[in-house]
Subunit: 127 residues, 4 copies
């Protein structure tokens, strides 16, 4: 490995995954393959590719392109992933993924958890 | 969700995953479930638990405890994960996971890639 | 640089700083030197050193040890940093820094911002 | 703070700073203000703004716009920051910052460190 490759490594950088994601995706009814598809989309987006194709995603995964397409379709249908229209600086419209619905589910889960904990407390105080 | 929970969220923080990991794990012969086990270990370690049990790991995954134990055993056997002995400040010996062998494989892969690219260049110059 | 050093680099990893920190520390009345002291503490903590000394911190900064001690004292006094007592597994008590008060200030700021925006909206609707 | 703001927070995400940066910037002759300017540029770039103005940068810092302009000029002159030309998908040329020279300095420093350590070892073996 030469210096240029090392510089590439640093320049590429890292994706940040909130620890809450690692400890709650199971409760959101997501499995490991689905999470890795979402992490791959995040990686592409943070490198400037906001709408990676199933072929691009599957080329980095042990899943076939057909399986990737199927997972993407389900993630959208089940409300974890969205395709939005956006405009670039020259007003050209392009499509892009958004993980916003995924973050909404995480927050719903956190709110739901609080309510349950408070109900639990209230119950115990009644006894 | 109240303020305390939000503070917890910030305090918990995030794990950082180099983008090179997301784009090369397939070439290292690792699949999505194995990567998620490694990410879970990383998450536990960055929260101060350096030797999470298969039960702790599987409780956050859609994999059974038996399946987690099996994956952990294979990751160690195939040279991606290590159990080391360490001493705390009071010289008590404890066991801990180390992802060092995984990082070594990533680097080996990067070196190997460079050599191949250079061979390729040399070939093309000969023609 | 040899392979071992590269493995060290990967194993060391990165700290994650929420973008909101970068865009709001000024509003929290913190300056660049104070933020860098907090980031240094975070870096030490994420490497397992929960109570770095002013000497350890200043050795990585362009600030003198006296200046570091002064900044640490002020961060504590002004409510951005805390020293807590904690127990390790063998019940030995030790002191450690906590950035919890800093995260509380960030959240207070976010709440405050929302209230102001809503007041602003209400005003505009009255007109 | 409402749910939408929380979703914004998650969607914004974090920047990742390699720990080596925090432990070696002093040796690269950079100070805390200069590092924070670089971190601000990184934050803007990871949010899709590849050429933030001195005014945008200083609006988030305790430094005046004039001081920011001065620091940016010096970072470029001293070889830590670069302005490149890039093309978007519609072949429109735009200017953007690149931290590539900064990463090169970090790597040079790591190489230099290794050579010195090896010289040191060789010396000790001669004795």
């Amino acid at each position: 490995m030469n210096k240029d490759q090392l510089v590439d490594l640093f320049e590429q950088g890292s994706i940040s995954i909130p620890k809450i994601v690692m400890s709650s995706y199971k409760q959101l009814q997501l499995n490991e393959e689905e999470m890795m598809v979402l992490f791959q989309i995040l990686t592409f987006m943070e490198s400037g590719n906001f709408f990676p194709t199933p072929s691009e995603i599957s080329s980095r995964m042990t899943l076939s392109e057909t399986r990737c397409t199927e997972i993407l379709r389900q993630l959208i249908q089940r409300g974890y992933l969205e395709i939005n229209e956006d405009n670039d600086e020259n007003r050209v419209i392009f499509e892009r993924y958004s993980l916003r619905p995924f973050w909404e589910k995480i927050i719903q889960y956190l709110f739901y958890q609080t309510i349950n904990e408070e109900k639990e407390k209230a119950k115990q105080q009644e006894l």
